[in-house]
């Protein structure tokens, strides 16, 4: 077996082997938290797969500018709306895939069809291209028109998720060696151990500094952090806040996740607005900052980050007012609401670092109101059964822990699923909210932003559908020999071209 040969070799070079000469070459070692199951580009919307594949191997037509500048061109040099439901994209000329073939509009059509095909299940297709019918028109090798039904004002944004593969890529199965137009080539994959990317010297864009990237996998964050400290690795994209002890190597970044509790507004006593308000007032949010959670987390009023279009800045964070919460509970009790009925907090293990502690703290705070609250932690599948439709008819009153990620800059990826009557993770049945969501989805420009803001206001002030907690922050550890600053997209991608050496 391979590792036996490596063992023998290693014994001979024992002294030098585990202190690698990282400083000499332009290589980086990156520690990911989980092994990649597959390396298929149409699965790149999944965190760890995206960190290796997205924009390193496979590129997209457009790219979201995380500095707040909207959409940047990538494989598409420019785009414009032709009429209400059609967009025309002008593609970059002279781009080649790493297998030598030319990149043209046919490849975009092929990638799109493959991603929504029913012969394989692509996460990108499932997540972003469901519920719409797209027709393509290849005008010439570098011009492509896409028509959508119903009209998609955010089609260019959707194209920032679609990874482009060469025409002819296996339509019936996932690829084992992804081929793309990006600055890196997929060189090696030792299942369970590491993945190696090497620089593509024929890349159409600016040549990046990193020559070789070695991705390894360690589930334990403390060990991964220790590897950087010991000089065995360079970057750990995600470490816990308590491991981020070295200001020279550890950086925090807003990671587009929002932590909130979904209130099951259909079941007593949570179906009474006073109780929902009391729950929000009973939480001392400030106590979490700098203790259980990073001091950089931001109190939330909505479940999308502030950089999203339509984020309503007028909504005020719930104050901590235990007395008022108790009064509201008493008032509800007097009105006949069954306040003694058990309210179950449904937690999810390993949701985020210190997640269980956060829930325990919330449990203690909510108990102070006199409500009968309990906490149970569940593994992912069970939690998912509680969180998604169909819901059990005779279910108990539940507060469900959720961490929701929306880095795409538009609430459309959140609102339908979480608040529409037919949304898979929604417990609301409010026609006003449904109407707002539907009209906002088809609107453009300022009108769109205005409608989304109103929707969030209704959900937050009129209905009180959730207990919004925080916009979360992640921590990255970067070796001192590198220059790399994580952005809000760091959860889903790690562009090697953004790394430079000191």
């Amino acid at each position: 077996m391979r590792y036996l040969t490596t063992c023998l070799l290693g014994t001979a070079l024992a002294a030098a082997v585990f202190t690698p000469a990282l400083g000499q070459e332009k290589n980086v070692t990156i520690v990911l938290s989980e092994e990649l199951d597959v390396v298929e580009p149409c699965m790149a919307s999944r965190s760890n797969i995206g960190r290796v594949v997205l924009q390193n191997i496979s590129e997209t037509l457009t790219e979201l500018d995380t500095g707040g500048g909207g959409l940047k061109p990538r494989l598409a040099a420019s785009w414009e709306a032709i009429d209400g439901d059609t967009w025309r994209f002008k593609l970059q000329p002279g781009v080649k895939f790493t297998d030598g073939s030319e990149f043209d509009a046919e490849d975009v059509v092929y990638s799109l069809n493959r991603t929504i095909s029913d012969k394989i299940t692509c996460e990108i297709g499932a997540k972003y291209f469901g519920g719409m019918k797209l027709t393509t028109n290849v005008v010439d090798a570098t011009t492509l028109e896409i028509t959508s039904e119903p009209p998609q004002p955010i089609l260019p944004l959707l194209m920032s998720t679609l990874t482009i593969v060469p025409t002819g890529t296996d339509p019936n199965a996932f690829v084992k060696t992804p081929i793309g137009t990006g600055p890196y080539i997929f060189s090696e994959w030792n299942a369970g151990q590491n993945i190696i990317l090497t620089r593509n010297d024929n890349y159409w864009g600016k040549k990046p500094e990193v020559e070789k990237a070695n991705y390894i996998f360690r589930t334990d964050m403390a060990v991964a952090a220790a590897m950087v400290a010991a000089g065995e690795a360079d970057i750990v994209p995600s470490i816990a806040v308590q491991d981020a002890t070295n200001p020279k190597t550890d950086f925090s970044y807003p990671n587009s996740e929002t932590f909130f509790m979904r209130i099951d507004a259909q079941v007593a006593p949570l179906n009474d607005r006073r109780i929902r308000e009391a729950l929000n007032l009973a939480i001392d949010r400030a106590a979490f900052k700098g203790t259980i959670l990073s001091k950089d987390v931001i109190e939330a009023t909505q479940i999308v980050p502030p950089s999203t279009i339509g984020w309503n800045g007028d909504l005020k964070v719930w104050p901590f007012d235990l007395a008022k919460a108790k009064a509201l509970v008493a008032e509800a009790k007097a009105a006949g609401v069954p306040v003694d009925k058990e309210i179950k907090i449904i937690g999810r293990t390993n949701n985020f670092p210190n997640g269980t502690e956060a829930l325990e703290a919330m449990l203690a705070m909510l108990k102070e109101t006199g409500l009968n609250v309990s906490l149970t932690m569940y593994e992912v599948k069970e939690w998912e059964d509680f969180y998604s439709q169909p819901y059990a008819e005779d279910r108990p009153a539940q507060l469900i822990q959720v961490q929701h990620d929306n880095a795409k800059g538009d609430p459309v990826f959140t609102a339908y699923f979480k608040y529409h009557t037919k949304g898979l993770q929604s417990v609301l049945k409010d026609p006003k909210v449904d109407n707002l969501i539907e009209t906002a989805t088809g609107a453009i420009g300022d009108e769109r932003a205005k409608l989304w803001k109103e929707m969030f206001r209704v959900v937050y002030e009129d209905i009180i559908a959730d207990i919004p907690m925080f916009h979360m922050v992640g921590y990255t550890r970067v070796s001192e020999r590198l220059n790399f600053t994580p952005t809000i997209a760091a959860n889903s991608e790690l562009q090697l071209s953004q790394i430079s050496f000191k």
Binding site: A222, A240, Q242, T291, N354, E360, Y378
Partner: protein, 309 residues
């Protein structure tokens, strides 16, 4: 040569009463004495701990989280530091003793009882029954405990009883197989042959003659199993079976301390220490009991004897 005169009617020295004898033997083995004392303290904690210090143990203080140990600035209860939510660790360890002892004790007792019974049957009865029992044990050994836990959770509700059930089932094979192995050997021994010749029933032979010889080994395994279960139980709690916050066991405290090993080592160390100390005490005490109950070995603990005769 003259023989000393031994008269048949000379009075024998008076026997000390049983309790005094036990105490004397315990005193001979200092380690076992300390172990017995420690276990007494732990049992006391389990019996009255939650009532006495339950409130102190549950009080959260987010700003005082991960407070380091060995400082009296906040009172005696913080002598071992505070956990990730600011709760004092020493009272929490005391309160957790009850759940821990209950779950671990019940699981080990159940597994040992069922495992030993099946092992006795498998070692002593016909080939076919024996084969069926042993293959059943093989199947249980191959069934992952996590899968069993997830299945139990889906089919039955989440309760302490189901937690004990899952833990016990996964440990049955070791008691079963060890018992059977010893029975296979013991039943060929002379005293068993003698009992059989004298007409003793199978049941009498197994329970009265064979079981006492097997028991010491089982107890040795059980005391170390105790530690294993205390730690294994916490991983099941993460699935939603068994102990949920704010209830706590030592195993859960240890698991919760895992992310903080690098900067707040006391969170996992002290409950872990509680587990280690309990295990050591149980082992030392059971070793002492093994010697005390074995007529062949008892001389080591009796007054006037030197080690190794």
């Amino acid at each position: 040569m003259s023989q000393p005169q031994v008269r048949d009617d000379a009075p024998l020295p008076a026997e000390r009463n049983a309790v005094a004898q036990v105490m004397a033997m315990l005193y001979r083995d200092k380690f076992a004495l300390v172990a017995a004392f420690v276990l007494l303290v732990i049992v006391l904690c389990a019996l009255v701990g939650p009532e006495l210090v339950g409130d102190i143990a549950a009080k959260q203080n987010l700003r005082g989280r991960n407070a380091p140990p060995f400082s009296f600035s906040q009172g005696w209860s913080f002598i071992l530091g505070a956990d990730a939510l600011g709760r004092p660790i020493l009272p929490r360890i005391i309160v957790a003793a009850r759940n821990t002892m209950l779950i671990a004790g019940a699981s080990v007792a159940f597994a040992m009882f069922v495992g030993a019974s099946l092992g006795l049957i498998a070692g002593y009865t016909s080939k076919i029954t024996s084969q069926i029992i042993m293959r059943l044990a093989d199947v249980i050994m191959s069934f992952p405990s996590l899968l069993l836990a997830v299945i139990v959770l889906y089919m039955l509700e989440s309760s302490i009883f189901n937690l004990v059930l899952v833990l016990a089932i996964t440990r049955i094979p070791i008691y079963l197989r060890t018992t059977r192995a010893e029975v296979l050997e013991i039943r060929e021994r002379m005293f068993v042959q003698a009992a059989r010749v004298m007409g003793a029933s199978d049941k009498r032979i197994v329970l009265r003659h064979i079981l006492p010889v097997v028991l010491p080994t089982l107890v040795t395994i059980a005391t170390l199993d105790f530690a294993y279960i205390m730690l294994a139980e916490s991983s099941l709690s993460f699935l939603g079976i068994g102990i949920q916050p704010p209830e706590v066991t030592w195993g859960l405290m240890v698991a919760q301390g895992r992310p903080y090993l690098a900067n707040a080592w006391w969170l996992a160390l002290f409950p872990g220490l509680a587990i280690v100390i309990t295990t050591m005490s149980l082992t030392l005490l059971s070793g002492w009991m093994r010697t005390a109950l074995d007529p062949v070995q008892r001389w080591r603990l009796e007054a006037g004897s030197k080690a190794n005769g």
